[in-house]
Every structure is written in C-alpha cells, then in structure tokens.
Symmetry: C3
Subunit: 159 residues, 3 copies
Amino acid sequence: RSGEMAKLTQLIDNEVFRAYATYATIVLLKMMLMSLITAYFRITRKAFVNPEDTASLGKGESAKKYLRTDPDVERVRRGHLNDLENIVPFLGIGLLYALSGPELSTALLHFRIFVGARIIHTFAYLIPLPQPSRGLSWAVAYTVTISMAYKVLKTALYL
Amino acid sequence: RSGEMAKLTQLIDNEVFRAYATYATIVLLKMMLMSLITAYFRITRKAFVNPEDTASLGKGESAKKYLRTDPDVERVRRGHLNDLENIVPFLGIGLLYALSGPELSTALLHFRIFVGARIIHTFAYLIPLPQPSRGLSWAVAYTVTISMAYKVLKTALYL
Amino acid sequence: RSGEMAKLTQLIDNEVFRAYATYATIVLLKMMLMSLITAYFRITRKAFVNPEDTASLGKGESAKKYLRTDPDVERVRRGHLNDLENIVPFLGIGLLYALSGPELSTALLHFRIFVGARIIHTFAYLIPLPQPSRGLSWAVAYTVTISMAYKVLKTALYL
C-alpha cells in the first residue's frame, strides 16, 4: 500500500499540479465566502426567503414582513451565481490543463490571472465599481479558461 | 496499453481515492435527485415556466394559467442551487485532498460527515424542519470543506 | 522532475482519459457559450439587472427603464442553470468513471451521447422546440450520468 501512496503523492509533488491545487482551492474558498456574505446581508437587512428563517423574529404577520428581497442580497447572489458559471469551467478545464504537460511558468501565468481576475470581479460586483470593471475582469478570466481549453484539446483530442 | 491501464487503475485501487469516488458519486446522485423532485412538483402543482411545457395542458389562454411560480417548486429549486454552491467546492477540494495523502480514517471522517450533513440539509430544506436544522447542517458541511482546503494548502501550497 | 512529468503525461496519454478530457472540455465550452448568448440578448433587448450596466444608455430616470427582465434573457439563463445542474455531475462522475477502467468503446459511447444530448438540449431550449424535445434530451444525458455512476460505485465502492 505504501507503493500506491507514493505514486499518488507524486501527483501532488508535481509543481504544475501543486500550483493548480493551490489556485483552485483559493478560488473555491473565495466562492464559498459568497455564502457568508449573503447570510450577513440577509441578517442585517432582515430579508429572508424561507418562512422558517423568520420564526425567531416574531410570530405570524409580524414575521411575514421579513420575507422580502433586498437589492444588496440579490447583488451578492448574482455574484455567487456568476462565480459558479465561471469557476466550474476553470476547475474542470484547469485540471485537464495541469495534466496536459504545460510549462510551469505558463501554467502559473494562467492560474494567477484567472484567480486575480475573479477576485477583482467580486469587488467590482459588490462595491459596485462602475463598468467596464466587472465586464473586463469577467472577460479576462473567461479568456484564460479558453486558452487552457485550447491547450487541452491540442494535447488530448480524442473524438 | 495494458501498462498504462494498470497505472490508472492503481489510482482507483487506492483506498482514500476509492472513498472519495464513492462519497462524491453518492452526493452527486443526491444532487441530481433534486431535478426529479422539481419535475414532480412542477407536474403535480401544475406550475411551469416555459410556455412549451404547458402545451399538453390546453390551448391558448387556458394553458397560460399554468405559467406560474409555486412555493414548493421554488423551495426545491433553492435546495438544488444550495447543493451546487456547496457540492462544487467539495468536488474540487475533496479531489485534491484525496491526492494530498491524508490518513484513511481522517479522510473517511471528512467524506462521511460532509455527505451526511448534505443529506440532512436536503431533508431540513424540503420538509421543512424548523431552524437551526438547515443552518447547522449547512455549517457542518461547510466546515468540513474548509478543513480539507486547509490540508490541501498545507501539503501543496505553490503560489 | 522529467520522471514525474512522464508519469503525469501517461494519464493524458491513456485513450479513455483523453476521450474524457476532450468531451468534458467541449461540453464546458458549450456551457460557457451561454454567458455570451445571455450578454447578447441583454444588449440587443436592452434588459439589464445591475444599475451600473445601464449607465452608458442614459442618465437617471431614462436609464432606469432598462432595468427589466426580458423573456429571451430569462430563457437563456434557465438553460445556463440547467447546464450547471447537469454538467457538474458529468464532470465529477465522468472523471471517476474514466479512472475506473471502462472499455474504450463503452466510454466513448457514454461521453458522445452525453455531449450530443446536452447540445440538442440547448437548441431545444433556445429555439424553443416543442416538447418533449427538451425533456427527452435532458433525460438521455441524465441516464448516461447514472450509468457512469453505477460503474464507478461497482468498481470503487468503499464506504
């Protein structure tokens, strides 16, 4: 069994794979943070969607008024969904890219720009910054993912 | 080719990786079940969102009344989205965690608690159970994912 | 380091894994296309959700009228969310399936049918085609994922 373990840890010892592991984990933690920010705004704005969540705020009609949408809550939720739409392709394509044998420096460039752009995207969405801040940061991360997909298909294409 | 295959199957022969494969598959099947539950409530509550879905229920104005939202349908959809927001990080971080060489017993503990908590979360959302059932089960699965992310970053950090 | 690299590239040299890499990348690129289609409809229909996105269309009250929902935009968004709900399980279960040692021809059959069905699903949703086109293409891709999950659990089950 230690022989198998050795082979497995060789994967995590590879520098490109370690870089992928690091940046994928960071950007997933960033995405998970959106849940906490949503909860923070729901509680401070008193804006809930499930009746059972307002039970502690009062009984009957007095609690019902907290079942409402709030612009700040909805904004965080849109940012969270945009994360899902863009980070899921990065996770899948990035893993395959890391296994397709890219140069370490090229791989680091892709991972760093993607994660940096998604962090800027979050600030641009939540503050919010004037456009085209959000649009540009979205486009940069999108383009990085396309570039990795091109490398994967060039290396692995098997239809 | 059989040599390559042997190396690949070594991955799936590793016990930690097999445990990850098992629990990731179970929690993804659970998430996929949400689609069937949504469809069940859409059909039994006659609450649709696409005009083409109501064509079999009548013509013209008589079908339009089924283009509406229903509280039960919306509840299942929120549970489904919450699954996506939490199971996607588990898939990515959990895979990297399984490759980072954890103790088998520690890994099993993480996977079992995560999947158990997400199953409880689904029941808490759909029944619904009074709070803090749903909040607690969400927090337990969230914390397990953070714990795995910590192990990945400790083992693989390469910025 | 070249020794490690060799082992990593062996993964991407395996034909089943290359097929997974190809079809996973294609279906993720298809999903990413939904973002561009959403942006296209938002701009041509002038239907936005964030106030900062309408700043270039006019000042004050005159820009506010573009903060509205549009049926075509909402339709693309539903298609995008349906992609997320179904492609995320394919990514996770498909990767584990590719590592579980299936026959190449069987694996290709699974990957091709899944990706074909999801492409048909997108056309059925966006045109839209009359039902049961969308429902059937959804069910085919769903069934393929269940079939792969069965193989994973049969090969790797470790509870």
